[in-house]
Amino acid sequence: MNLEKVVFAFFILLALTLNFGFFLGDIDVPHHHSVYELFAAIVVSLIATILKFGDRTHLGALLLATSLVADLQLILAAVVWAFAEHITGTGMTPAVMAVIVSLSGGALLANITSVLLLVAETMTVRS
């Protein structure tokens, strides 16, 4: 067992689970989606991205790309949230919530791909 691999897999999985937790619930109901969960998802996703830095294999490049996609989607969701709450002054409406949750849904897809790639890599090495 390799501690580095444990930490790596832990963060990738945690990014997926937190993302899923935020995504879960009716798409346009604000109180189904916690702002803390989105925050945690963004932080863990960023850490997972940095852990993937510097891997020069083809699979490493793919993993980094999926992570970057997830970061982009989640940060965009946070920006939309801040925009609605503080800048336009519309407050949290169901329409805005739907946009935020669908963005996080995109990130969820990227995170699923990430985990699938990780599983595929493990299978080829450890079968």
Binding site: V35, V43, I47, I50, F53, G54, E85, H86
Partner: protein
């Protein structure tokens, strides 16, 4: 290929993760700790304001307590986060600077920059291994002739000298061990524009390795290598290296030539001159006993050549046992009068100051002239930096090894046929050389004549090739008829005609040409472009051959044809 960006990112993993953790914990703290607005109502900071506050606090900008003055709980948390974020930033910036300063990282960066500059080269270039006096002269001559070069040298100090040197064409240089094949590949040995490799390091085993690797990695490459010992020379020659240069033998040979057949020496100097170099004048050294100061590698080679030429020489050497000097050697440096008198300087006709120390050589020159003003003085100059004082010392002949070697390599690189000409010429006598010098000086304008090769084929001389194919029989003279006045000739004459396996030295001007003939021509500097007209243009060729100017355009041709019909 190693990517610098990835290396940087991988090394920065830890500091970046620390930074993200510190930021996220700080933000979370501000969101959770209860606050108060300006009316005294409870107010919780949201993520947006927390991110804003932590961003300006972490970067020590410090706009104050925004949007409302903090409660004591918030201030306590702010104190904790101020210190932790500063430490995280110091860690991140410190690691980044450490990576940039890292020798391995810098080497990688330099190699990458070098690789990029090599891959961008779009004109033919030579790879030169080893940078010293000879290489710098060679690179200068090449770049003045418009040929690019790339340098690999293992000593960083010498490479710094390359960067300070001001060449007309920029010369990429890399500090690396040239005996590694991957470094040669990095230097572009497999590049499609690489036309040759010159191994000029001062160690024979490295030159051998470079020559061998170049021949294996790119067999079509022209390889020129330097070898100091005969053993290494034979070894390098065994796998088909194109030219091998022994610096001591070449230099001593040239010196012996200067003493024995001065006209031949002048001829060699002229033929191997570099662009825009002034012509040296013929010298006439006296015959008699010579004094040879210094019996090192160079002295030995000179002594051998002098003996072969039948010239007797007295040797002065500081350490005769170590250098195995022959019987009758005078012990001393030659810089003091007593040693020179012991060597019977009054009776000698000339002296060669040939030690490997420039100050000693100059001292020998000055002392010897005082003792015998009529001496013919030959001085060996080791470093180009001392050129000014050697000029002031006014020796009859000053020779520098680096320059002789560089000129020879330059000639070999630019005109391959010249080597064959010189090999044939050395067999002729001094009177032959004198006659040839007269011919050359008649056409040259006080600067080195230009020597170049013309091959009668479709690429070099299409007009001639077509004319030969259609049955006309131009002679050599037709090559350099003036393109506008056919009764005149350009200041050019042939040195060598190579036809299949036979070589004709100084061929007769009326010799008819054949296809695939190779001609070595000698002409005034810059006259070559005028000759190209005759070689390439069918109309000009027709004019010099028949004396009539042919109509070129379709309309004019019709007109001329009609006129000719009417006249019938």
């Amino acid at each position: 290929m190693q990517n610098i960006a990835f290396l940087l990112l991988r090394r920065l993993r830890a500091p970046l993760i620390v930074l993200i953790c510190v930021y996220s914990i700080s933000m979370l703290g501000f969101v959770l700790i209860p606050g108060m607005d300006d009316q005294g109502q409870p107010w919780d900071m949201d993520f947006f304001h927390a991110f804003y506050f932590v961003s300006f606090m972490g970067s020590t900008i410090g706009f104050g307590e925004i949007p409302y003055p903090f409660t004591d709980g918030q201030r306590m948390w702010a104190t904790v986060t101020i210190y932790s974020s500063v430490v995280a930033w110091l860690f991140a910036i410190g690691s980044m600077l450490a990576i940039v300063q890292d020798p391995a990282f810098r080497t990688l960066h330099r190699q990458n920059r070098f690789r990029r500059s090599i891959s961008r080269l779009s004109t033919p270039f030579y790879l030169i291994c080893g940078y010293g006096e000879t290489s710098s002269l060679l690179i200068r001559a090449l770049s003045e002739a418009g040929i690019r070069s790339v340098v690999i040298e293992s000593n960083q100090e010498r490479l710094n000298a390359l960067e300070l040197e001001d060449y007309p064409i920029p010369v990429p240089g890399l500090c690396a061990d040239v005996s590694l094949p991957e470094i040669l590949i990095l230097g572009g040995i497999k590049h499609k524009n690489c036309i040759g490799c010159v191994a000029l390091t001062d160690r024979d085993p490295i030159n051998l390795k470079v020559a061998l690797s170049s021949k294996l990695l790119n067999p079509s490459l022209k390889v020129i290598a330097r070898a100091e010992t005969e053993d290494a020379e034979l070894n390098i020659a065994s796998f088909g290296t194109d030219e091998i240069i022994n610096p001591f033998a070449t230099f001593a040979g040239r010196l012996a030539l200067a003493l024995h057949s001065p006209s031949m020496f002048v001829l060699f100097e002229w033929m191997t001159g570099v662009p825009n170099e002034p012509l040296c004048k013929p010298l006439y050294p006296p015959h008699g006993t010579w004094i040879l100061c210094g019996y090192g590698r160079f002295g030995k080679a000179v002594h051998e050549k002098l003996r072969a030429e039948g010239v007797s020489a007295t040797i002065i050497e500081e350490k005769p046992e170590m250098t195995e000097a022959p019987q009758g050697t005078v012990v001393g440096r030659g810089t003091e009068a007593s040693t020179l008198l012991e060597a019977n300087i009054g009776e000698a006709v000339g002296i060669v100051a040939g030690t490997d120390d420039d100050s000693n050589n100059l001292s020998i020159v000055m002392t010897a002239r005082e003792l015998n003003p009529s001496l013919f003085i030959v001085a060996r100059k080791n470093s180009r930096a001392n050129a000014a004082i050697f000029q002031a010392a006014r020796a009859n002949l000053t020779m520098q090894r680096g320059s002789v070697i560089a000129h020879k390599i330059f000639a070999l690189i630019t005109t391959p046929l010249l080597a064959e000409f010189l090999r044939l010429a050395i067999k002729e006598n001094n009177a032959w050389a004198e006659a040839l010098i007269k011919r050359v000086s008649a056409i040259a304008d006080d600067v080195a004549p230009q020597i170049w090769t013309v091959i009668i084929n479709d690429k070099d001389a299409p007009a001639f090739n077509r004319a030969l194919a259609s049955g006309s029989q131009p002679s050599i003279k037709a090559l350099y008829v003036h393109p506008r006045y056919r009764e005149k000739s350009l200041p050019i004459f042939p040195l060598l005609l190579k036809r299949k396996d036979s070589e004709i030295l100084l061929p007769d001007e009326t010799t008819p040409l054949a296809q695939d003939d190779q001609l070595l021509l000698c002409g005034q500097h810059d006259i070559r472009s005028q000759m190209e007209w005759v070689l390439n243009n069918d109309e000009v060729f027709h004019y010099i051959h028949t004396g009539e100017e042919r109509a070129q355009g379709w309309l004019w041709q019709k007109f001329v044809a009609k006129k000719a019909n009417r006249n019938k």
